[in-house]
Assembly symmetry: C2
Homo-oligomer: 299 residues x 2
Amino acid sequence: MCGWRQRRYDEAVSETLRLALTLAYDGTDFHGWARQPGHPSVQQCLEEALFTITRETIRVVVAGRTDAGVHARGQVVHLDLRAAAQAKLTVKDGASRLEETVPRRLNAVLRRTAAGAIRIRSARIVPPGFDARFSALWRSYTYTVCDRSEDWDPLRRRDVLFLETPLNVDAMKAEALSLLGLHDFLSYCKPRPEATTIRDLQAADARRGADGLIRIHLRADAFCHHMVRTIVGSLIEVGSGRRQPGWARERLEARTRDASTRMVAGHALVLEEVGYPDDHESALRAASTRARRTDDEAD
Amino acid sequence: MCGWRQRRYDEAVSETLRLALTLAYDGTDFHGWARQPGHPSVQQCLEEALFTITRETIRVVVAGRTDAGVHARGQVVHLDLRAAAQAKLTVKDGASRLEETVPRRLNAVLRRTAAGAIRIRSARIVPPGFDARFSALWRSYTYTVCDRSEDWDPLRRRDVLFLETPLNVDAMKAEALSLLGLHDFLSYCKPRPEATTIRDLQAADARRGADGLIRIHLRADAFCHHMVRTIVGSLIEVGSGRRQPGWARERLEARTRDASTRMVAGHALVLEEVGYPDDHESALRAASTRARRTDDEAD
């Protein structure tokens, strides 16, 4: 009996498993997602926590590389757990339910090492073809602005942009909607060599909440570097009356990044969610996206 | 004509005016309200900003001295502006509307010196008998708790208490209501010599919001030192099932501070509002409260 159970266990941990983690983070004290020598990054904190619980060096692949100060509620990464690491996690916890064990143990470490700034929301075993970056169908972001001094709460100073200028939210929404669809967003991107700036903006909205704050939601297949913050900057130009309605669309069609480009600060931006197809389509999607986009782009 | 206007102006600024300021602050980076040598405090930041705009040393009197890490949305202070300071403010701005000028100029300074952590919400000229501390009829506080890991947002780690234990909010509300009224809150206070611990708890509530967070509201004529945080600690003891319903009331009646006292962290506590009577009653109220309470208590 014991021998039989042992064989089953060995089989279960004999192959590499791919895990997708969904995580939230407060980007305030990080120099962005990506590792940089001498600066704290979300990636470094997460990979160090993975080392602490597995004693193996594990690299993660991220869905959307966020800039310094940018936050996330639904960031996604994938990583591969080799048999030894699986065994270490499952043996210690006396159960093979990695989807529960990994978030719990990572969160216990991150509470200490990142003071709660990073939280793993869930883990899921995914097929080997799943790729957090290239399987993604879309990313959605929220940008939050306070334009009324009476609504200004200092407790929100790390995730809300405070402006002294009152904004016309309806005008901002109309501008945002005018950008919907598949376009070359060169005017709204910090372009990189050899990388396309054609993106599909799938959803756009701007509305004032019950708390008086304006929230701008944008969803696209992927975003170029600085694209969300530059679109929001343009919406604010029109919402404040400094530019005429229609200006955001004019900028889009001009296909140029010049002195009239306005980019807002990163601290009020949150990566909300990343959308994926069903598991069996995921690997196919990853292969086709990888072929279409280069490795140098932001997402 | 010019002479007449000049006389009117001189008269207006010839006497000391008392101003009440309502302010909000993020207490994260302060060692509490009160000045302490070598540590940043809200009081010090505010008084330095007052010096910057008036070039006079002005002391403020606060309604509720908050502990390290505690925040405020509706803190109140009073201060006296002598004629010279009034003249400086009104001359520079070309208008004598101090109620607009003072918040605007203080906020401009505080944005630089406190990185937006303190915001003056309004200023009001009050009668000379008004006292921010002793005229107050009540103070209200909110304490926010997250007891479900799926609702845990790292962006709220500076103003929400995160617990791994699920809480029964109805049980907590019942405990809170059992403390209503005029009692000796010794079991819930850090007592100070010669100071009464009798307080009137006027309102109490605990409820779960649409965001999944539990908010505990407490309102009293005044609070002793650590009183809100110790009451919340007791509610959590019962809400988590570690103590039986009725325990909070038992603690109250025991009138003792012992090893079973539970106090929660300060960072999830916000001073929401301070209530005052109408102006003509305010001075009378200040005189009677001052006589009843000693200077050493917290509020």
